[in-house]
């Protein structure tokens, strides 16, 4: 029997703020356990939350990038449940007034474009990290109070490929927006997925299983695939199952039952009385929005318009620092094709070799524009460039100075080269005759003479053009 899967995805992102969301503890990863905590994070009696404005700004930014509507007046809510990793035994979240809602992300699967609808995105605090050692559980409060953004899609995807494409796209967008470092292996991006199947579109949604704890985007695909198979088997056998929470087991590469969902899980939500309502003005929102960098899809569009090849365009967009650098050139009148070739060719090789970023080099925008120009008109050949690239990248000197110091002095003066060529033609009548009789090899000899006479400094392309012209 054939079934239609319905898939929704919930993503938790840890935000890259300096301090935690409700206290001034440092927001950091990989530090000694419980070294980044204070009385607020520990839920000490009498403590109160403060609100990190940076989190609100990142929320506005993320909501904008995900095409969400932004809630101008919002509050926080308490989600009450007892769990050892939950220091106050309530989590401060946004249950009723998520900062963003009704957004979408555009994905492409098998050449087909689709909008994945975002139901809502809200701000909340992370819990402690638990480590199980034998029959003991250790708690690390460094993570308690780290700001999270939870992004919830509508149940609008119908294949593992779509879910994966959504996650890849979301990750790309959130990295570009500097929202989160999106490291799944460090837990700064965590994905849960809801899967159900039904026979036809007109049927109500099937019973839902939530799969948690999936350690990579590709495993999200595996988890969904396995879950669809599992549910199919149950239905095909004429059986049913209860709504449940499952986890993905990395070793088994399959989903495993965690718990059956109890009806009416009661978190006793109510508005957090310790944090006044947050009111966002148009000005605050605009201030954040004006600093949002160009997103990947727009970059792709602009690069192609500027004449950059599709391959180079994709390579650039995948390399955020180079792409940002490239964006600085967009308002200049230059050869973007050469610019992209240089950046992705010799310059990338240099950066990889040195293991540094383009911004760590001495290649200013002006210097790069000069290089593109010289490369375009052959003042610098690719051979030359290989010789002096290290110096260009590491020295404050101008390209002209560098060329001079390294004896690269291509004669690009038309008349100077023409004079030399005229003399050579006069002195080598035999070769000229050979050429006129169709012996192409003769031109190579004449070019050799030109280079010899100019000590190799004549721009070869230019010299060749003039020679052909003079030989007519």
């Amino acid at each position: 029997m054939n079934y239609i899967p319905t898939i929704g995805v919930e993503v938790h992102l840890e935000l890259k703020t300096k301090t935690k969301i409700f206290s001034n503890s440092t927001n950091g990863y990989g530090e000694m356990a419980n070294s980044l905590t204070n009385v607020v994070d520990l839920g000490y009696p009498g403590t109160l939350p403060t609100l990190n404005e940076e989190v609100i700004n990142i929320g506005i930014k993320a909501a904008t990038i995900l095409n969400c509507k932004i809630r101008k007046q919002m509050h926080f809510d308490r989600k009450n449940y007892f769990y050892p990793d939950n220091p106050k035994n309530y989590q401060i979240t946004q249950a009723r007034t998520p900062i963003g809602y009704d957004g979408y992300v555009e994905i492409e699967v098998n050449g087909e474009k689709k909008k994945v609808e975002i139901e809502e995105m809200h701000i909340e605090e992370d819990t402690c990290k638990s480590a199980h050692r034998g029959n003991k559980t250790l708690l690390d409060f460094n993570r308690a109070g780290v700001p999270l953004l939870e992004i919830v899609t509508k149940p609008c995807m119908s294949s593992p490929e779509e879910a994966k494409a959504y996650l890849e796209k979301l990750r790309e967008l959130m990295l570009y927006g500097n929202i989160s470092d999106c490291k799944i292996e460090e837990g700064s991006m965590r994905a849960d997925t809801n899967v159900s199947i039904r026979k036809k579109e007109s049927d109500p949604f099937g019973t839902k299983a939530e799969v948690k704890n999936i350690g990579s985007i590709s495993n999200v695909g595996v988890a969904i695939e396995k879950e669809i198979e599992r549910q199919k088997k149950i239905y095909d056998n004429g059986e049913t199952f209860k709504p449940q929470t499952r986890r993905f087991d990395d070793k088994l590469q399959d989903t495993v039952l965690m718990r059956i969902k109890e009806t009416g899980n009661d978190y006793r939500y109510f508005p957090e009385p310790d944090i006044p309502f947050v009111v966002l003005t148009d000005e605050m929102i605009e201030n954040v929005q004006k600093d949002i960098p160009m997103m990947p899809d727009e970059r792709r569009k602009v690069y192609v318009e500027k004449g950059v090849s599709e391959i180079n365009t994709n390579k650039l967009v995948q390399n955020r620092p180079l792409s940002d650098y490239f964006n600085e050139l967009l308002n200049e009148n230059t050869n973007f094709k050469i610019a992209s070739n240089l950046l992705l060719g010799d310059i990338s090789a240099y950066l990889n070799k040195k293991d540094i970023q383009i911004t760590d080099t001495k290649l200013t925008k002006e210097k790069f524009l000069d290089l593109i120009k010289k490369y375009e008109d052959n003042t610098i050949t690719s051979k030359n460039l290989k010789e002096i690239l290290d110096i260009i990248m590491e020295s404050d000197k101008s390209i002209d100075e560098i060329m001079k110091e390294n004896g690269i002095e291509n004669i690009t003066d038309d008349s100077e080269i023409r004079e030399v060529i005229k003399t050579i033609i006069k002195n080598n009548p035999d070769s000229v005759n050979d050429y006129k009789n169709g012996h192409d090899r003769a031109i190579k000899f004449l070019m050799g003479q030109v280079m010899k006479e100019t000590k190799g400094k004549a721009n070869p392309k230019l010299a060749n053009d003039i020679l052909v012209e003079e030989l007519k």
Partner: protein, 480 residues
């Protein structure tokens, strides 16, 4: 003569002229506390207070509160000094930080004498839910001194110290102040940082000063208000609350809600308030009886909001990180259940359970959200009254202090003790209790003065005017 019974300016002068030292006040306080047998304190800060008093001898007396002893309610955290909230679950809890208000009184070089007795987690109206037994009323030791700030009220009435801090969620400063014949102010919500006040009902809790007279109350309030970046609900204030004291009250307009003078209040108290109203009128104030909608519903709203919030606020006491914890729990749920079953008293458990129920599922909408919306209506009602009137006044309590051994089997009784003070918390307004006389058994009767938001200074003006006019002898057992 007890120094701690003198007026603040007199003591300040003696300190300044080096005729007495802070240690004299501190030693006198401890002697008085120990002799009183009032059980007003859960923890005395003896060693530290004496040490601090001696250190102050070499310092300049630079402000009017310098070197003066103060009692702190035991739900305000004090670094290194046990803070129990009168509960078994925190009976060995030694905080690692100071409440903002504690930092403020330390800045003034005030000396913390000890932590005062109270109802467990401030839940009660007679301080009898304390794990450490109830404090006694200095006017009659067989009677309650009210609650939840009962210990703070008792120690002021007994003239052990000049100053005490209380907290008021649903009348817990004003009601015990009324029962013990002292002045207690619940300032406007947000006036004083709540950082370090162990939360009962966050949207209602407010710390306030308790003193023997109006002027000293205003002086202490001066030292403890202000915006605190650690409490987002606190507000910036920069004013002298004593500035209107001594001004005339001629032409002031006063409203008396009919509800406050209805059958629910004892004849004796009603008559005393009526007498006081006549005094005010004779001084040129204009008094009207008015209806304020919803104030008769305030107790119901309070029960929903306070218990709902309390059920969440008290969830953190789980035996994991601090406070009481059972030995050898079978599993995490056993740790939760057994620690909380052992640690909390009956009244606290009752309120957590009712509060959890009120927030469960659809109930949150039916009860909690509805209560919040009616609370807004009460606010608006008061706002309208204050368009026409300077003050709202009435009795603070329906009866005077009752016997310590009166039955505690009716859980709603304690809310009825606070029926006249709770509307003020609902509206977030400032309210003050001041003594206006005595009943036939010579137990104090109190009156509350309610002002518009942030008009504490004006309340002090009326209260101090009346205080002078009435000129009552407010020392239990006569001159000491």
């Amino acid at each position: 003569m007890k120094y701690n019974g003198m007026g603040i300016e007199e003591i300040h002068k003696l300190l300044k002229e080096k005729k007495i030292k802070p240690i004299d006040l501190v030693e006198e306080a401890f002697k008085s506390i120990e002799e009183s047998g009032l059980n007003a304190y859960i923890t005395l800060n003896k060693e530290e207070a004496i040490k601090q008093a001696k250190e102050l001898e070499n310092k300049e007396v630079d402000n009017i509160l310098f070197g003066l002893p103060i009692a702190v309610k035991d739900n305000i955290v004090t670094k290194g000094l046990k803070t129990t909230c009168a509960s078994h679950i925190l009976d060995n809890f030694i905080p690692i930080y100071n409440a903002t208000i504690v930092e403020k009184i330390k800045e003034k070089n005030m000396i913390i004498i000890g932590k005062t007795n109270m109802d467990e987690f401030a839940m009660g109206s007679s301080s009898r839910t304390s794990y450490f037994g109830a404090p006694r009323n200095p006017w009659n030791k067989e009677k309650i001194c009210g609650g939840s700030s009962g210990g703070s009220a008792a120690t002021i009435a007994n003239r052990d110290v000049l100053f005490a801090l209380g907290s008021d969620t649903g009348g817990s400063i004003r009601q015990p102040a009324s029962y013990t014949g002292i002045v207690g102010m619940k300032p406007t919500y947000g006036r004083i940082s709540r950082y370090g006040l162990v939360a009962f009902a966050s949207s209602l809790d407010q710390i306030g000063p308790m003193t023997k007279n109006v002027y000293e109350n205003a002086v202490l309030l001066n030292a403890i208000t202000g915006k605190d970046h650690k409490d987002l609900t606190s507000v910036e204030t920069n004013e002298d609350f004593t500035r209107m004291i001594g001004e005339d009250i001629k032409g002031m307009k006063i409203a008396v809600p009919n509800f406050f003078m209805s059958e629910i209040v004892s004849d004796e108290i009603r008559n005393k308030v009526k007498e006081t109203i006549k005094v005010l009128e004779s001084c040129g104030a204009k008094v009207d009886y008015v209806d304020i909608k919803y104030i008769e519903n305030a107790v119901t709203l309070y029960q929903i909001i306070a218990m709902g919030e309390a059920s969440s606020n008290l969830a953190r006491f789980d035996g994991l990180r601090y406070g009481h914890s059972i030995e050898e729990p079978k599993d995490i749920n056993d740790l939760y259940y057994s620690t909380r079953a052992e640690g909390f008293g009956d009244e606290v458990k009752r309120r957590i359970m009712v509060g959890s129920y009120l927030l469960s599922g659809e109930n949150a909408k039916t009860y909690y959200n509805k209560a919040l919306s009616i609370r807004d209506d009460i606010r608006k009602e008061f706002k309208n009254v204050f368009k026409k009137y300077d003050f709202v006044i009435g009795p603070t309590t329906t009866t005077t202090a009752y016997n310590l051994d009166d039955p505690m089997d009716d859980p709603s009784k304690s809310f009825m003790d606070d029926i006249l003070v709770i509307p003020v918390n609902m509206a977030g307004l400032p309210g003050l209790n001041m003594p206006i006389g005595f009943d036939k058994d010579h137990m104090p009767i109190g009156m509350q003065i309610i002002g518009n938001s942030f008009e504490e200074a004006k309340i002090y003006k009326l209260a101090s005017y009346l205080e002078k006019k009435l000129d009552l002898n407010l020392i239990p057992g006569g001159e000491k």
